[in-house]
């Protein structure tokens, strides 16, 4: 860029210097020919400087115009206009000075100087205009066009050297060369693609600017030829092919442009409309990524459709299910029907009363096609969606179904206040919009559900962490018993819970529980259970009272369909007794060493949260066992007894009992490991879809 700027500055300097040199050398030559004083400056020198001046101007404007970043055509024309204005005003002010001075105009030196100034200004204007025109013609270039232009440009360059040819030869080929260049210029002038990209307002502006440019050209032409009529007075009388060819070319192109723009004026609205469609399409498809709601997509759809088919009013109606993000099972979506209640509306310039009136009219007159989307044929008959309407405000209607994943979720309705206001092209556009919107909404929903799944997974991770932190790393025990716990949560977060609490030196409280449900709510309820256990344990309660209080506390915070099953144990070292109660939990398995017997304690009980009133304790039964050395107590959750194998058989109570009977003499750790091994062997490769929790106590 810097080099471009430098080049433009250098070329400007060269242009100014060469022009000054031209004036000086020309006047000197003139002086010498008039006074016969030999000045040593050849007659050709002014021509050389004039050629350098042209070239320098060419490069100066080339850098200024070709590097201009703006591709706005009106801006380019504006540049030409300003250049023209400056040069013309300058030239005119010289002329007025000339008029005031009057007599001086007859002086040959003054006349020549004026001529050279005018020539300098005119050529600056012509060359700059030429380069702007080049840019306009080469907008959307092809290889052929580029070649043609290059020939034209080189031809013009070549014509500069004509002045150095002998007079006779020059006049012979002058006409031919000029006409070849003019023909080439006219042929190139056919390229007017830029006109199509102007909107209506820009076209009017362009016409005005071009008209003024033509005026300047006329002025300069008259001005220069006015000088050149006095051929005898001028030293530089040789008319240049370059300037003439450029002049004619610019004139022809300006004239053609004005005409083309003029003829294009009536159709420009169509082009603008097409462009508008493209932009609307883009907006619709971009709205998938950027908009945060489906509502926005619907609004854009309505706006775009209304503006591109020039509708006077319209609305977009959607079934409520269609609008919801369909995160629940899709089968519950009731299909859309135009006459159902509770539709969601997006309106444009229309009242609710009008909508219901129009629907009444359609229903009464049984207008086929409109609002009848049931036919499944793929071939679209656009006339099907069009109809005239007998309504006080609106005379024509256009209705399209909005479909997402092959299900109709709503309809787009467009209205006009004249009959036959919509044609098939408009219907086609609207149809395309509706289709595009359908795709946008589908994508939007997919994206939303993907995000929701991701969020859900994150939530589960957190819940699992919470759950793990709720289970104690070590259970309390004393010299009377060993305790081993095994707990394995399913992939999903479950609600198995166990904990212990040392009441005093003799007593340890133990709890095992199972919270109904899975996921975050289960983890949450489990944490409440932990709170309840730790606070009530300090109150030194009987096992049944513990549950009575726990039920009261939990009833107020558990959801209506949630409950917790639990077993609560008070292990008393002094009495060598376990007192316990069961709140709907799996019955405790116990091995009595003294009578070598294994049994389930199925004492009466009711899950926490099932009965949320004062009657709850009536459904509980307290039990106790005086433990002896070698007794084994096994606590577990229903995940173990209900664990199923591939044949859908459950592990069950019997297997558990048998396992204990076989391994009763082993340590707590061994018993636990053997039961879990047996369980896994039974279940096989089936996925673990519930929590397994197993606690084994062995008394000493």
């Amino acid at each position: 860029m810097a080099s471009g700027k430098a080049l433009s500055r250098i070329s400007l300097t060269v242009a100014i210097l060469s022009w000054l040199a031209l004036v000086f050398s020309d006047l000197t030559v003139l002086f010498s020919s008039n006074t016969k004083v030999v000045t040593g400056i050849a007659e050709e020198v002014p021509f050389i400087f004039r050629s350098i001046y042209f070239l320098a101007l060419f490069f100066f404007f080339k850098y200024r115009i070709e590097k201009a970043e703006s591709v706005n055509f009106v801006d380019l024309l504006w540049r030409v206009f300003v250049t023209g204005l400056l040069t013309t005003v300058f030239s005119l002010s010289l002329k007025s000075i000339d008029l005031i001075i009057g007599s001086l105009g007859q002086n040959i030196f003054v006349l020549n100087t004026f001529y050279l100034i005018n020539l300098g200004l005119a050529s600056a204007f012509v060359i700059s205009t030429f380069l702007v025109w080049k840019r306009l013609i080469l907008y959307q270039k092809s290889k052929l066009l580029m070649r043609g232009w290059q020939v034209f440009e080189y031809g013009l360059f070549f014509s500069i050297i004509f002045v150095f040819l002998p007079d006779g030869l020059m006049y012979q080929i002058y006409g031919i060369t000029l006409s070849i260049l003019v023909i080439l210029g006219v042929v190139l002038s056919v390229n007017m693609k830029w006109v199509a990209y102007l909107n209506f307002k820009q076209k009017w502006k362009s016409i005005l600017l071009l008209f003024l440019i033509l005026l300047y050209m006329g002025y300069f032409y008259i001005n220069i030829t006015g000088f050149e009529e006095n051929e005898t007075l001028l030293s530089l009388h040789h008319n240049t092919v370059l300037l003439n060819a450029m002049f004619i070319f610019i004139f022809v192109y300006s004239l053609l442009s004005v005409l083309v723009i003029l003829f294009n004026l009536p159709t420009s609205s169509v082009f603008e409309q097409k462009l508008g469609e493209v932009v609307s399409y883009q907006r619709l498809s971009q709205s998938i990524q950027t908009e945060t709601s489906e509502e926005k997509v619907y609004e854009i759809l309505l706006d775009s459709a209304i503006s591109t088919v020039f509708a006077d009013a319209g609305w977009l109606e959607l079934s409520q299910n269609g609008k919801s993000k369909s995160e629940d099972d899709a089968s519950k979506d009731s299909p859309y029907s135009p006459y159902q209640d509770h539709l969601v509306y997006f309106k444009y310039e229309i009242e609710d009363t009008d909508i219901s009136e129009i629907k009444q009219i359609l229903k009464k007159n049984k207008i086929r096609g409109v609002f009848d989307f049931n036919s499944t044929d793929r071939a679209v008959n656009y006339s099907k969606f069009l109809s005239s309407l007998k309504h006080s405000n609106f005379k024509s209607i256009l209705v399209f179904p909005l479909q997402v994943q092959d299900a109709t979720i709503g309809a787009l309705v467009l209205l006009k206040d004249v009959s036959d206001g919509f044609n098939k092209e408009m219907a086609e556009i609207a149809h395309n919009f509706v289709n595009q919107a359908g795709i946008s909404i589908e994508n939007f929903r997919l994206l939303t559900s993907a995000l929701e799944n991701e969020r859900y997974r994150e939530e589960l991770k957190i819940a699992k962490k919470v759950q793990n932190s709720l289970l104690p790393s070590l259970l309390h025990s004393n010299t009377d018993f060993d305790i081993v716990a095994f707990s394995k949560a399913a992939d999903e977060v479950g609600g198995d819970y166990y904990d212990s609490y040392q009441v005093d030196e003799n007593r340890i409280n133990l709890v095992i529980g199972d919270v109904s449900g899975k996921g975050t709510s289960a983890a949450f309820n489990m944490s409440q259970m932990k709170g309840v256990f730790h606070s009530l344990s300090q109150m030194d309660l009987k096992a049944t009272d513990f549950f009575a209080y726990a039920n009261k506390a939990l009833s107020s915070c558990l959801e209506k369909t949630s409950f917790i099953t639990a077993s609560y144990f008070i292990i008393d070292k002094k009495k060598r007794r376990v007192e316990f109660a069961r709140a709907g939990h799996t019955p405790t398995l116990y091995y009595h060493r003294d009578r070598d017997q294994t049994e389930f304690y199925e004492n009466k009980g009711l899950g926490l949260g099932i009965l949320r009133d004062d009657n709850y304790p009536n459904y509980l039964e307290e039990a106790f066992v005086d433990y002896k050395s070698g007794d084994v107590m096994v606590l577990y959750t229903d995940g173990i007894t209900e664990a199923a194998n591939f044949k859908n058989e459950e592990y069950g109570y019997d297997k558990l009992k048998t396992m204990l009977e076989i391994h009763k003499n082993k340590t707590a750790k061994e018993i636990s490991e053997l039961i879990i091994d047996d369980l896994y062997t039974f279940v096989g490769d089936t996925n673990v879809n519930d929590d397994y929790t197993l606690l084994v106590l062995k008394f000493k």
Binding site: S516, T561, S562, G605, L606, I610, D613, Y619
Partner: protein, 113 residues
């Protein structure tokens, strides 16, 4: 998956459950009971002969209606529960709160008592 057919005969609405009631199908069970209740039926029989399995979510549905039914004088009797399903009910203690009959005849007697 659960399939629920509702038959009304002699003022008794019978909901025949077929299949499994798990976390997702418990919603269907809830809807079916709620619809029967909203239709104004005061005597509801649950035919569980072909009920293979019930999860804690399914139990939660039955549990959630106990209080309401008591208040509104609606009688609900279950019958035909297989051993596994019955065990789930009794373990939780729901057998103490719900009327459970072994067969349809007993259930009819219980509900019309």
């Amino acid at each position: 998956m659960i399939n629920i057919d509702t038959v009304v005969e002699n003022g008794v609405a019978t909901l025949k459950l077929r299949g499994d009631v798990d976390a997702s199908s418990s919603i269907d069970l809830d809807n079916a009971i709620s619809n029967t209740k909203n239709a104004g039926h005061k005597k509801i029989l649950i035919d569980a002969v072909e009920l293979n399995y019930i999860s804690s979510a399914g139990l939660g549905v039955f549990m959630s209606y106990i209080k309401d039914f008591e208040k509104e004088g609606i009688k609900l009797v279950l019958f035909g529960l297989n051993e596994k399903v019955l065990n789930v009910f009794t373990m939780l203690g729901l057998d103490q709160l719900l009327s459970i009959a072994s067969n349809e005849a007993d259930a009819q007697k219980l509900i019309n008592a």
